[in-house]
Subunit: 362 residues, 2 copies
């Protein structure tokens, strides 16, 4: 992230932003704690009311026997896969080529756990039943990320999930859900979290993405699995003496926002239309299936940057602070809808996109 790029600078100065819940500042935490009594006892190495109550609540919400709070999804997911690999005596798992584990974790799964990855499906689409059935090697676990973030948050159909789940069960492959953004896909599937999770042996849920907490993750599954995960959590250095800053904040924003996902989903569909109507712009997926999508611009990054910067400066509407180049004629950025979209006057949005369309068409 180049903090000093004109695009980033213009974005930071906008009055309204189309995506997200707002700035990631200290206020997020202070607000969650303002009504918490000072004499509430800290959790203590994974024990105590603060952490146990929240874990139980999440286990129930996800329809799993047990749940454990982790400082990060990176830690939770490596551990989940390690347990399944040890169980089967086979250090091999399958996932999408753009899985978080493959591209964002400095190869922790390989370097720490010596687990090999089998990459399924083409980079630009989600894993389908055929990809799983055509897999030539046996694996201990298949990880599915719902939605597949790095391709704009695409999803397989629920029917496909059911079929993959059944196939894995029959073949003795543990089915793990990378549900970093699980809440965000429930409106599309028209299912409860528990209904989706029932298809999986183990589930990870992020506590800061859709709901806007500070950090943290939940790993859920059967009791044996969760007990083992606590041992690995300590080995990883994740069994902190106190995790309450994340837990209390997660609980606060879960209560505040977990019911808003339908709204964010609808807003994403509306906003995507604006981008798709804009000269040189298109979204992936074309019609969002969650609160997120990618915006592609089919022009050189510098030109798009100039156009976006001018729009942001002139309208005070924040579209993005970052752009990534795909090739010399394509660039993109990610959008995740949150509370802020409905605070922007509709007229200002119309106006901003009218300008953007003009600046892109020169």
């Amino acid at each position: 992230m180049n903090e000093t790029s004109p695009l980033q600078a213009s974005f930071k100065q906008t009055k309204h932003q189309l995506a997200g819940h707002g700035k990631r500042n200290i206020h997020i935490m202070k607000k969650a704690f303002q009504d918490i009594e000072g004499n509430l006892e800290s959790d203590f190495y994974g024990e105590g009311k603060v952490i146990e109550d929240f874990q139980e609540k999440m286990a129930q919400f996800l329809g799993k026997e047990c749940a454990v709070f982790f400082p990060s999804g990176t830690m939770a997911q490596q551990i989940a896969l390690r347990i399944w690999c040890d169980d089967k005596g086979l250090p091999k798992v399958a996932y999408h080529p753009l899985s978080h584990l493959e591209i964002h974790e400095e190869d922790g799964l390989k370097e720490l756990h010596h687990i090999e990855s089998v990459l399924l499906a083409d980079e630009n689409r989600v894993i389908e039943l055929d990809d799983v059935m055509e897999m030539k090697e046996d694996v201990a676990s298949l990880l599915l990320e719902l939605p597949q973030r790095e391709i704009g948050g695409q999803l397989p159909s629920f029917e496909t999930l059911e079929k993959i789940s059944k196939y894995c069960r029959d073949k003795g492959i543990k089915f793990h859900l990378d549900g970093a953004r699980l809440l965000e896909v429930l409106p599309y599937y028209k299912k409860s979290a528990a209904e989706v999770c029932a298809l999986f042996d183990s589930v990870y849920l992020s506590l800061y993405k859709g709901i806007g907490g500070i950090a943290g993750a939940i790993l859920a599954g059967g009791q044996d699995f969760i007990e083992q995960s606590k041992i690995w959590k300590r080995r990883h250095g994740g069994d902190l003496i106190s995790l309450y800053p994340y837990i209390i904040t997660a609980d606060y924003y879960f209560e505040m926002r977990s019911q808003n996902m339908q709204k964010y989903y609808e807003d994403a569909q509306e906003l995507a239309k604006f981008f798709n109507a804009c000269h040189g712009g298109s979204t992936v997926p074309h019609v969002p299936v969650s609160n997120m999508f990618h915006v592609h611009f089919h022009q050189a990054k510098e030109q798009v940057e100039t156009a976006l910067t001018k729009v942001q400066q002139q309208t005070g509407i924040g579209i993005t602070g970052k752009l990534k180049e795909i090739d010399e004629n394509t660039c993109y950025f990610e959008v995740s809808l949150g509370d802020q979209y409905r605070e922007v006057p509709k007229e200002s949005i119309n106006n901003a996109f009218k300008l953007l369309d003009e600046y892109m068409d020169y």
Copy 2:
């Protein structure tokens, strides 16, 4: 910890406690944040002013080139040793048989990093130069814990440290400081943190023990070492999107308490005398060399529990909530001095120990 033991219950109801800074409750964090502006930006995956400023401050304080904030010491130290092992191409390190890595981390060093440990010295004493010189195997790193917590916080002399440091340098063994309680030993050594750390290639410092923060650790060393540690931090799942709840709190209590260590050290010496004067009681070390020591009672655990419970109930002075059995005639507990000791009226302390002496002598 048995929450419902009469000893624990009586301890929780005391008005004053001899050890510690007070209860580990939410107030610890709220107090540290009360004057922090809500619009202060969060750190972001190890970047940003909040984390960078604190890391620089700690590097300077420890006299090292660079420092990095870790969620836990468990994570920081495994990583430090891994880097030194990879450097030398030898997955073997030496430390005390009661090192945190050996007894409190579910063998993370072995299970995650496949690093073998060579245990130096007898369990009941600290590592001396001879132990290092007589080591039959080559190792990549020697870890020294100052003070050695599990034996009451004992210390080698500073001269011994200098000699071991020189020996390690000559032999190509990286010398790592487990300085969980480094601040607490500076008064005894009459040295600055930087003077002690200069003897070591890498240093870990806890941010919640002596100073009373929530959680977190600093790892410090040369620039190359620290850059590598950041990669491993991500692999471990410790590179959280936001660590500010721990960082801001650590900074607050570092400022408040890092200068108090002489006071805690003197108080520990005074309090140890009370225990040593008590029937059947003795401290390890006999004269504390930091803010901590262990209290041994040479009687059956049940009898000591009964005596302590009665004293706590009758005087309102909290001595301990926990007792560990060594054998049928010996039990012990740990004491770490903090802010609370000077808030207890001296007369009440005298009175409590007079009673304890009576109850122990029956």
